[in-house]
Symmetry: C2
Subunit: 246 residues, 2 copies
């Protein structure tokens, strides 16, 4: 068993598998596969076929096979994929075995909810610190953590290496917070504030804008309404089950 396929770069340091240049689209789907696999494992399944896993993850089976083939050959022809093995592999690829530290900036309406979101801890992330600029919020205890002032961010980052920063502030403060995070050495940011962040090229930013999601749905709603109103108004089938991802 051990490591069958090591990756591309031969001059590899240690046992870290070099990255076989996974397509972005594949990476965006791996977490969904992982969730489906965990669910399958709970039901006691030892192996899954690509068909079965694809159905559980909501994708085409061919796509799933191609995605998994990029990580190496972890399936057995005629049988399927070993669930436990695949879970380990994907978690390793995603770096989830590192139990990454996350800090959250902005303990307002949304930030408050995010701080208590159970889905983070259960999937390999530790929320280690909460920050806000409002002195009235500082000191408040949420889910076992005390809100600290944003000026303390540097100090906290110094003791504990922060892998990911989450921005849940009003739009006007987002850029300033991003600058602070970058200055503290954070190189991955999840931004819930509307607007574009300007960051150095080595920093990755993912943006989630709830209003944008609604607007996209509104468009489809608008389109469907105008189609069914037209003479040839059929069932207006089109793209559905659009998953968010880059």
């Amino acid at each position: 068993m051990s490591q069958q396929r090591q990756g591309s770069t031969p001059g590899d340091a240690g046992g870290v598998p070099a990255f076989p240049d996974l397509p972005e689209a594949t990476i965006a789907r791996l977490p969904e596969y992982l969730r489906a696999l965990h669910h399958l494992a709970e039901t006691g399944a030892e192996t899954v076929s690509s068909e079965g896993l694809a159905a559980a993850a909501g994708v085409n089976s061919a796509k799933l096979r191609k995605d998994l083939s990029h990580l190496g050959s972890y399936g057995t022809r005629g049988v399927g994929y070993d669930v436990a093995l695949l879970v380990d592999q994907i978690e390793h690829i995603l770096g989830l075995d590192k139990n990454r530290a996350v800090c959250l900036v902005g303990v307002g309406n949304l930030g408050h909810a995010l701080a208590g979101y159970a889905g983070f801890a259960s999937r390999g992330f530790r929320v280690v610190a909460l920050f806000d600029a409002d002195p009235n919020k500082v000191g408040e205890r949420i889910n076992g953590l005390t809100v600290r002032h944003i000026d303390d961010l540097n100090a906290v980052a110094a003791e504990e290496s922060i892998a990911i920063g989450v921005i849940a502030t009003p739009p006007g403060s987002a850029q300033a917070v991003a600058d602070v995070l970058v200055a503290a050495g954070v190189t991955s940011i999840l931004n819930f504030a509307p607007g574009v962040l300007s960051v150095p090229p080595n920093v990755d930013v993912r943006k989630v804008d709830l209003a944008i999601e609604l607007q996209i749905l509104s468009f489809h709603e608008h389109r469907k309404a105008s189609l069914t109103a037209l003479p040839g108004g059929r069932s207006a089938a089109a793209g559905n089950q659009e998953a968010v991802g880059s």
Copy 2:
């Protein structure tokens, strides 16, 4: 001025511009353009160049021009785009002039925050009803709305046409809630619960999974770490500012 270009289908009912088959990628960017345009309008700008708007929206200027060209010719060569006109056009395309009714199911940690999210109302959406299955939550008042029991959803949908349903329940209840929404005639769903929803083909589902976003960031963090650790460890520049969208 008025209408220069009406769309494709000539046999058009009323003044509704038939849909020129916008690419999905373009649709996903229109809301971001719209936000940038609103911001520009507030600063008093009458016109914008594609370069300027592209910068404000965080995209390539060529991409922006191509996107806008799909909606028709609303720019003037040598001058730029009329901000107010473009706002109207995009809002119309997205169907935001309809002031769509949104209902939210699941008033837990996240749902509570969503119910109070100001970004919805300010961008053309009205949260008209909150639902939950927990009797203890029913009756609670949030942001001027009273939480009702999920069984009342059909009745509410009968009086007020609900355009979009938002699911913010635990994963286990999501499918059941989706079924109720579909039965009530809702054809657009925004799902915050992990997992795949099964819906009829005429229903659009968009999914937002916060943990997935973190996992994707984790991957890039993992990748960057292993790159900088290698001999040729340069600044590890790669894809950044990845916006979420289908």
